[in-house]
Amino acid sequence: MILSIKYFGLLAEITNKEEELIDFSRSYIWELLEVLYIKYPNLKNKDFQVAQNQELVPFETEINGKEIVLLPPFSGG
């Protein structure tokens, strides 16, 4: 499947992009992250969360949407 991956804040600086399409053949968030860690080794030691369908989800979650979002620690307000 084709996934749209979004990056925010510090993560967008590391990947040097805010969004990209990735053709992904496995099932879980953690499997997607393995792919991203190879592509962007500096992601690996960063503190971030993953959102699917606008909700934070554990890395063990199965991918069921078309958009996966990587979010650094929130710092609103």
């Binding site: 979004k6 925010f8 804040g9 959102a51 606008q54 979002v69 929130f74 710092s75 609103g76």
Partner: protein, 147 residues
């Protein structure tokens, strides 16, 4: 009298004191209100390694942020006897000294507004995907971390 409909939360740039004053004025026809409580977040010119922060550039995962603001709003109305509630958050550049967050709650009674306001502000800090890029005088930057 409660105005529970969804409004846009994000404002481009700083939130002005005139906007806040006008927002207060709008509530003076609501004569069941006895107490308002307002929280304002202001950008601090913190000094890090000898350089002062001159501004914060805010970005957000807007779809999720708006959904979270809506959830926070609904749960605040459920938990507390509120008449009104308004939240505004800046996007883009806000200079040091300017206001980036405006939360406004109104109720018949004061104890309600104290509890509600603190609940809402803590929920925003914890649950809404907003990101602050702190820009120093020399245009270098670091990413804001909440505590």
């Amino acid at each position: 009298m409660s105005d529970k409909k969804i409004k846009s939360v994000f404002i481009q740039g700083a939130i002005s004191s005139e906007f806040i004053g006008k927002s207060i004025a709008k509530h003076q026809t609501k004569t069941s209100i006895g107490a308002h409580n307002i929280f304002l977040g202001q950008v601090r010119a913190d000094v890090v390694d000898g350089k002062a922060i001159k501004a914060i550039e805010y970005s957000a995962y807007e779809d999720m942020a708006n959904a979270k603001f809506y959830e926070i709003r609904e749960s605040a109305f459920e938990k507390f006897e509120l008449i009104c509630m308004h939240i505004y958050h800046s996007l883009g550049t806000v200079n040091a000294g300017d206001i980036c967050l405006f939360v406004f709650v109104s109720s018949p009674h004061r104890k309600t507004v104290f509890d509600a306001l603190e609940f809402i502000v803590e929920e925003i800090k914890a649950k809404v995907p907003v990101f602050g890029k702190e820009i120093f005088e020399d245009n270098s930057h670091q990413w804001k971390v909440n505590n």
